[in-house]
Subunit: 205 residues, 2 copies
Amino acid sequence: MTEADDTGDYARHNARMARVAAAREKMQARRTLERGLLIVHTGNGKGKSSSAFGMAIRSIGWGLKVAILQYVKGKWETGERNFFEAHPDLATFEVMGEGFTWDTQDRALDITAARAAWERSKQMILDPTIDFVILDELNIVLRDDTLPIAEIVAFLKERPLTKHICITGRTAKPELLEIADLITDFTEVRHPYKAGFKAQRGVEY
Amino acid sequence: MTEADDTGDYARHNARMARVAAAREKMQARRTLERGLLIVHTGNGKGKSSSAFGMAIRSIGWGLKVAILQYVKGKWETGERNFFEAHPDLATFEVMGEGFTWDTQDRALDITAARAAWERSKQMILDPTIDFVILDELNIVLRDDTLPIAEIVAFLKERPLTKHICITGRTAKPELLEIADLITDFTEVRHPYKAGFKAQRGVEY
């Protein structure tokens, strides 16, 4: 694939790439469906939330309207929060969580906070002016059964198909994965935590 | 973990969370290192580039200076390009590629374009005013040996440790993985391509 051929040029490589291009074009032509996707970012690796924020940027770049709701990180200063609060014209950005369950140490409060966040999420999903809804760390709340998975799945099944929804968090429930259109498992291969690094601004938060 | 105990409240859950919090604090205290990380996003799943853009947003939110160089997507209109070109104050954003190798069908051009992009990448990495450098799809160019991996790895090993570098692309070379601090494998679990969906704005580009 990579070497010049005997004549010293890349004629064979270039001809092969022309065949690849033709095959790809044929494959793309078979892909015609277009509608709002239910996207799930899960797994133990780094990048689930940041990838959702990157899709927000892409969507804003196309003139789409984006709403982001963070379920857990409500009390923290994060880079994404600083960014979107400094640029309120770019997207709707709301933080509603009270911290991880070991931060609050108060399950009744966790349940109240999650319920309020879910009610707000439903408004965002039903709002016809919003094209892309990101529910950051909802999987964490579902894993702990702080919200009932059956209720959330029933609502998502009936969602308007005019918008994308992205749900993040490391342990997605099987019931959610079952109805998702796009699932990426973010798999940790190497993490600087294990080499003694602390979480760093811009990377982890 | 999730049910109220016999007394009808969550006292046992809450006490357990207090113990979890103490254990986590002890663990965090052992993580003291802080320096620029070499981050690699690889794997066949969706989200490698968008996760890098999300880290850009986080970094900008902390007042860090970000530079993004795209190796492959030079000829395309993308959401990220639209976004950063509309907001040039937010980050340095440059596109230098000529398209995938099956688009150009011209290996000599691929090599020239990749070389120019790498020379620019080195400037960004050596620029003391830049805190975070994203080299989008560099792995693609390295996989095809359009640039020599040994040269790139030698330079990265000697990089200034005052900044983060994130390299994306589905097939990272083992030589690069060996020197990386943070590696996530984006693993495809389900992709709408396979159900006949075309690539959609805001999600894939």
